[in-house]
């Protein structure tokens, strides 16, 4: 009997195998991939609301189910966008890899064991490498190689830490580990092992100072792939796993006060927030700016996950969702600009709003949400994170996080003024906005960002509250 959570892995995997044999067909791979991912998304949402209210549906189970919804939501948007944007002759392989990476991410969040987690993280890494270098351009191959090297080092560190964990506790499953941790008085060895594991996940997340692969990979990949990588891949293989580790660290040390590893991870998060925001100011390329912005936003999630109070965890999880939505939307907008103008250089054009109003306005919504302005969804998650830091007595970190939000607004305003809302430049006179296929994911994510901001109590009651119940 196959467990229900394995269905979310098996179905896209089976579809990928079928897709791989459809390489010579033009539309069939895209239709198959979109249909399968949309069906899985629907199934995820239905099963989530069916289980809501059950006594056993809280904590890590809710987090997994919520992450599954985010994964399939982003994958559905990316597959839809790619159906119109992919210019390759090998569409079967392209959509097959996209399905396998979706299966791998679903496997990561469904895993209840660190070894299983490792296996699925490798699936995602191999597929990411293939997707970044898919078009065999020198720049994308270089980006893919950089990703591959750092990712391999992270995988080696992760495997080593899992071995150490097994040697020390005799278990790798989350439940068994919690039991062992609660039974042991001395958590020093476990702290060191989990610190090594956290290091591996920070590399996978692309946090400062392990970020060197991020700008190259995001800039050189095609827009759907960048949206997938920045939107969900780094969150699943990096920050989601980091959330699990931070929860274990919090259990070992009874909170952040006696948790030196958690504090160290918080400092890494803060450094990423500041470094990403400052570097984004200097960028001349739209996608590269988004890459540095991602480094900064991942810092917010990390700092909250390491703090591990109920309020901080709610903020971390909701910011994962928000960042997935607004960063994917921004990469779709970057893709639309690239298709229309042939470039994503910020200084090479201005006044795009006159020719591409939908792209310009949806990008504006995403940017304002990234900066944490009300009433957009990004406001709530940043508010939760900063409030949690303040509540826990980390006043300096809370102020720095708030200051970085202002920096985020500054670099995005610079981008908006330079690219979309300035005086129209002559070189954009003959461009036009792309069709329905390119704009639909932008509209959908804009709607989600606004709706999640306006109806935040619904999100809190149904998605965040059952998750943080276990921490309270």
């Amino acid at each position: 009997m196959i467990a229900p959570e394995n269905i979310f892995v098996i179905i896209p995997l089976a579809a990928a195998i079928v897709c791989a044999f459809l390489n010579k067909k033009k539309s069939a791979p895209a239709i198959l991939a979109n249909a399968v991912i949309a069906a899985c998304l629907l199934f995820c949402v239905i099963s989530f609301f069916e289980r809501l209210g059950d006594d056993w549906f809280y904590g890590e189970v809710v987090l997994s189910s919520f992450m599954l919804i985010i994964i399939y939501l982003i994958a559905a948007a990316v597959a839809f966008f790619a159906a119109f944007a992919a210019t390759t002759k090998r569409r079967g392989s392209y959509f097959a890899i996209m399905l396998v990476i979706t299966a791998g991410m679903a496997g990561v969040v469904c895993a209840k064991d660190f070894f299983t987690l490792y296996v699925y993280i490798e699936v995602v890494s191999v597929c990411s490498y293939a997707l970044i270098s898919f078009y065999n351009r020198p720049k994308s191959t270089e980006g893919a190689m950089r990703y591959f090297y750092l990712s391999s080092i992270a995988s080696a560190i992760l495997l080593f830490s899992i071995s150490m964990l097994f040697m020390h506790t005799g278990a790798t499953s989350y439940d068994a580990l919690v039991q062992k941790i609660l039974a042991q008085n001395d958590g020093a060895a476990l702290n060191i092992i989990l610190a090594v594991m956290a290091l591996a996940f920070m590399i996978k997340s692309g946090l400062f100072p392990f970020h060197s692969w991020t700008p190259d990979a995001y800039e050189s990949a095609t827009s759907p792939v960048s949206a997938l990588l920045a939107g969900i891949v780094t969150k699943v293989v990096g920050t989601y796993a980091l959330v699990v580790v931070c929860m274990l660290l919090s259990i070992i040390n009874f909170g952040i006060e006696n948790n030196p590893i958690g504090r160290a991870v918080m400092w890494f998060g803060l450094a990423s927030i500041i470094f990403g925001a400052l570097n984004a100011q200097e960028q001349k390329d739209f996608k590269r700016m988004l890459a540095y912005s991602s480094i900064s936003q991942m810092g917010y999630i990390t700092i909250a996950a390491a703090l591990a109070t109920p309020l901080a965890m709610a903020g971390a999880v909701f910011h994962m969702f928000n960042h997935a939505a607004f960063k994917s939307l921004l990469f779709f907008c970057a893709g639309n600009v690239k298709r229309a103008t042939g470039s994503t250089e910020i200084d090479s054009m201005s006044g795009l709003q006159t020719k591409m109003p939908h792209t310009a306005w949806t990008a504006t919504i995403a940017m304002l949400s990234t900066a944490g302005l009300p009433p957009f969804s990004g406001f709530w998650s940043k508010f939760f994170i900063i409030a949690a830091l303040w509540q826990a007595g980390f006043y300096g970190m809370a102020s720095a996080a708030l200051f970085a939000s202002v920096l985020t607004l500054a670099y995005f305003l610079k981008l908006q003024r330079g690219m979309f809302f300035g005086k129209p430049s002559e070189n954009i006179s003959d461009i036009e906005e792309k069709n329905f296929g390119f704009l639909t994911p932008c509209f959908v994510f804009s709607f989600i960002i606004i709706a999640a901001g306006l109806y935040f109590p619904f999100i809190y009651d149904n998605f965040l509250s059952p998750f943080i119940r276990v921490l309270q």
């Binding site: 196959i2 467990a3 394995n6 892995v9 098996i10 995997l13 990928a16 195998i17 791989a20 390489n23 210019t87 390759t88 002759k89 090998r90 392989s93 097959a96 890899i97 396998v100 990476i101 299966a103 791998g104 496997g107 469904c110 895993a111 209840k112 064991d113 070894f115 299983t116 296996v119 699925y120 490798e122 699936v123 191999v126 597929c127 490498y129 293939a130 270098s133 898919f134 078009y135 065999n136």
Partner: protein, 162 residues
């Protein structure tokens, strides 16, 4: 015991074949065989967890990585067309050797007497470990295999985009 001996010697022969094979792809396949035999030995020696991990990581993941690398470096090369003839007959040799060991394996039994002392866990069969305890790992291995094949095909296959 005869099974143990057969497995150990088969593993040594496959290791030799892996080292001496001229085609890198054949070397990767022999290496996978070594891992599979080693996992079987671990299962028979009452170490099912180690066996499952060996089967999962070495026979699955590492083989995909080696096969990918072999495909990359071997593409378009003709230097390895001729392979040592002795290894063409290796499967036949292994079968003959297996039959001999099965017929007169009791002769070697004292060599493996100590393995009986190992404590037997409650779940000992390959089926129990893989199907009852490690199902997600098994599906993950399938994913890794498909991902590896697709990656190699994408990077080295025919019909690349201009």
């Amino acid at each position: 015991m005869s099974l143990h001996l057969f497995l150990v010697i088969s593993m040594i022969l496959c290791s030799l074949a892996a080292v001496m094979a001229k085609r890198t792809i054949h070397a990767a396949i022999f290496l996978a065989l070594v891992s599979i035999i080693l996992a079987t030995i671990m299962f028979t020696a009452q170490a099912p967890w180690a066996g499952a991990v060996e089967l999962s990581v070495c026979a699955g993941l590492i083989t995909v990585l080696f096969a990918s690398t072999a495909s990359m470096i071997g593409r378009g090369e003709s230097y390895a067309k001729r392979e040592s003839k002795i290894f063409r007959f290796l499967p036949l040799g292994l079968i003959i050797f297996g039959v001999i060991i099965l017929c007169c394996g009791d002769f070697f039994e004292p060599l493996f007497a100590n393995t009986h002392n190992a404590a037997a866990p409650s779940l000992t069969t390959v089926g129990d470990i893989i199907w009852k305890l490690r199902t997600p790992d098994l599906i993950g291995q399938l994913c890794i295999f498909v991902a590896g094949v697709l990656t190699v095909r994408t990077m080295l296959g025919e019909g690349k985009d201009e």
